[in-house]
Symmetry: D3
Subunit: 140 residues, 6 copies
């Protein structure tokens, strides 16, 4: 029996949307007030969803406490109370849009999961805007 | 990398569930208190979810501000503070169930999206009842 | 020990904001799109909060099941799936603003509570707009 | 047109995670404080999602009132205000993890749905932990 | 300037409402299905609200991290994943209604706060039922 | 009849908690990771609650559309997508704690309200931390 187990977590961070290789004019046109050079910020709500078979010994797909600790060590410790542009290596050259943050979180968590488990990331940037990413194998 | 971007929006409207070609008795039997001839109403919560590749230039699947404006112009302006049965052409002959409203919203938004983007509509009629619709190509 | 016990409930209804003794022009100026003559509607979320001493026999201020049944019989049966202007006697001459609906709900519930209990009504008209009313004795 | 109709419901229950055939030491290691022999409990939030074609006569995939009544008779009456381990037959030998509870709920509801309708169960054990199950035919 | 600082927390627990000095018949009449002798349970959502002057040095009424740690050590460690009737000394003779749990939480937290700070406890037993308690000095 | 009308709004911003006249060591000790020199950020949820008599002509305490526009012009335009420390004059010398932000918002809104209306500000810094402020006249 295949079940998905989801865990919600939270981090808050500052960011700025812009491309250093674009003019200020073009950055403002594309990114609007998200291009504030002094940064703005969000409370990001993260849902990590892990899909796989129920282990008949435990009744768990994955112990949610292990998933919680993994999110803490790999994501919260790296992103919480940080400036995404300045403090997080992946965003040195990558624009920290919600889409790209979801991909970065996926790539940080996936290697720590058992091979047979698939992962989906849902990331709320605000209560009204959110994104989901399920990895490259969903692209075909 | 394929990502889904979702935007929440809100409109409130009056409606009545009934079929003019059915007897009052049959309408009451099928639609119960939703068949109040004086109408009742809801705060509809809408989630429009757009799936497609991340544009490497911007880091966006679709600028959520454009999606927000599209929902405003195509959906909120047409449905907010309206009587669905009397004020919205699609429901002149179509029963405004949550299912049908979701299909109407899909059909109003889809033509405005780039060809390679797919769309899913989630519509909350109450905090406890909601529907989702992803278009005809999901039927096979 | 004085404690407040609160119960959430829900009803949905159609309404229209207007004064029959005003011109259509003045009604539109004051009430805007809430003056749609075909009505619009809302999911109203109601919180009834009852304050009083803990009964040492039961540990209850008031059995929340009794409060729930009271809201059902006095409020939901009267307002749910109704047109407030046309189906509810109190609003025959009273504009069904959130403020006035809260007062009407208070006046319907209060006589059914034990004398020593005070009542506060919180009414959400939308997830972003809500009102509270605690009775006339709060006015001094 | 294929649409999914979802209904939220609620029940609260006590449970304990453990295997009677394991030592207390192993149960504590695997299930931690969830292995409290005096039980602990949760408010479970359930979402039952039913997918199928819109009935052109009614505009419904399935009358949500019927779905609500089905959840009441098959799930709430059996699980609400119960001790899952002691009061619910399915968990006499089955560990009442969220995963297993979702499967039990699926198995209780599915036979009552029309053949052409598929079912997905989402079960929140806490506001931060939830699981989803769509039946055996999703396993391939 | 007087400000209130609030912190939300969470614990889940089993409980049973009954009085050992009452007959089973009377317990069932008063407490209904909450009197299940095998217990049931809840996810309790707690809001601890502390009111006092803003410290001009820090801009804090009270460092919310200290409040969070206090809730963890005094409340969560004592009540989370517990059976309130069997595992928590205060409820050996006291019925664990939401009202009484709120008073117990207040009495556990208040002595740890600076003298000039007042405390209000809000406790959600379910998403639809909650209580508030502000201490004995609110009774006059 | 005295009623309170509340309107929810939203802004997101970057900030840093620190005092320039304190050593880095002391700032870290008091403000912890909130003292990140590169800033972090939040989605602030604001509730502005206005209390006064119901106008018998309109049934409004205050037209919530006017309140919404006031929050937009006085608060959102000034704080949304901003760095509170660098972009908002009030915080040039004032630590932007949730407490102080609530006071600043109160002071910006209150002069625009009719004399007989009182104001309460509730500000969520995260879904778990929030503050309330009702003005100096509540201090006695």
């Amino acid at each position: 029996m295949i079940v998905t187990v989801s865990r919600k977590a939270h981090f808050n961070a500052a960011h700025r949307l812009f491309r250093p290789d674009w003019s200020e004019e073009k950055n403002n046109q594309v990114f609007g007030k998200c291009n504030n050079p002094n940064f703005h910020g969000h409370n990001y709500e993260l849902i990590a969803s892990v899909t796989g078979p129920i282990d008949p010994d435990t009744g768990f797909v994955m112990d949610v406490k292990i998933l919680k600790d993994l999110i803490k060590s790999e994501i919260e410790n790296a992103l919480d109370h940080k400036n995404l542009n300045l403090d997080v290596p992946e965003f040195e050259l990558l624009n920290p849009t919600a889409e790209n943050i979801a991909v970065v979180i996926y790539n940080r968590l996936k290697p720590h999961l058992a091979q047979e488990l698939s992962l989906k990331i849902t990331l709320y940037e605000t209560p009204r805007n959110f994104v989901t990413y399920e990895g490259l194998n969903q692209q075909a």
